[in-house]
């Protein structure tokens, strides 16, 4: 029997949730016995090569590339899980949601006290992904099947969730493992 595949990505996140995946410590050896990583920053596979059972999404969507990656994950994964608060509600990046996009750019590239930008231009290279008007929680872009709150979710939470999912068992997390911070 082939092992189930897991894909992960970090959109508008800080990679803290991926650090928390690594924080399962030596259980990662057990994990690679249970599953195989497909597209993920963990193994640096850039494109989906096979259909995956689980997609773990860190971060919300702040630019068009995030949206494309998320849609790609939805197409290629059976179960999509929001990994952490940013995927669930936008997180820290979503603090810009009450500020108009133009003001965000001006603060970042022109007016901020630590800005050094002699050309006085806001970057607009075609290679740069277009910034969205606001940061979107993942569930507002595609259907998300499960949500794992936390900033980041603890390693134990991630481990227990994956083990339950892979064994087709209901998940009954102890009180201390579900936290929003």
């Amino acid at each position: 029997m082939t092992k189930p595949k897991i894909a992960t990505t970090s959109l508008a996140g800080c990679f803290g949730c991926h650090m928390s995946i690594l924080d399962i410590d030596d259980r990662i050896l057990k994990l690679v016995e249970l599953i195989e990583f497909n597209k993920s920053p963990v193994n640096d596979i850039k494109k989906f090569t096979e259909r995956c059972l689980v997609g773990l999404i860190e971060g919300g969507c702040c630019n068009e590339e995030n949206v494309h990656v998320l849609q790609d994950f939805r197409k290629n994964c059976d179960v999509l899980i929001s990994l952490g608060d940013c995927a669930i509600m936008g997180g820290i990046p979503a603090m810009r949601n009450s500020v108009p996009l133009k003001e965000c750019f001006e603060e970042a590239y022109l007016n901020g006290v630590t800005v050094f930008n002699p050309a006085g231009k806001i970057p607009s290279d075609k290679e740069l992904p277009l910034l969205l008007d606001r940061v979107y929680p993942c569930s507002e872009i595609v259907k998300m099947d499960y949500h794992m709150p936390g900033c980041p979710p603890s390693a134990d939470t991630i481990w227990e969730t994956l083990v339950a999912l892979l064994n087709n068992k209901p998940l009954d997390l102890p009180y201390e493992l579900v936290k929003y911070d």
Binding site: M89, E140, C151, Y175, E176, K179
Partner: protein, 238 residues
Amino acid sequence: MSDKIKFSIDDVEIEGEVGQTIMEAADAAGVYIPRLCASKNLTPHGSCRVCTVKVNGRSQAACTQPIAPGIIVENDTDELKGHRRSIVEMLFVEGNHYCMFCEKSGNCELQAVAYRLGIAAPAHEYLFPNRDVDATHPEIFIDRNRCILCGRCVRASKELDNKNVFQFVGRGIEKKVAVNADANLSDTDMAGVDMAASSCPVGAILRKRVGFAIPVGERLYDAKPIGSEIESNRAENK
């Protein structure tokens, strides 16, 4: 004449005293009814509706409804828990609740009730409203992003501090807590020791320079769910 009143909550016989609300009698008997706007020592407000129970089949706020002989109260049912989840989820999407950096996190009643109700994420779209912060007062700040309009500060200022610092203004989605001054909190007679400052269930009114004093793991709701302190009053748990 006996001044005891017998009634039941979820088929458990409870004995309350004349004049008690359902919530007061339940608390004394060690039965937890989730709540946000209700707080000991404050007049019940009945506004958050989280404590809604069924009394003889009709929905009532447990914090305002007085007990009566023989009433049959439903509390911990799937239907009511579903309603409570919806209310709490709406409170989360209606404000800007960034638990990850909020100083109240771990001691926050909104967060703790959400944990207790088993909410992983709200089922509604986030509104990301534009709310303001008032940090003018030397000892206290107001962050309206986190306000859930429970009115505890309004009542605490009036009833416990004998002042009138806070009041609601506006209606519907525009409703907010305002201060009793032309401009800011610093223009009021609010003092750092006022009960109104400690009455806030969320991180909307906080004392300055005391945040993050308690390490993660030792905060009020880190290890035990909200309501455990009430449930420890139950006779069989003693």
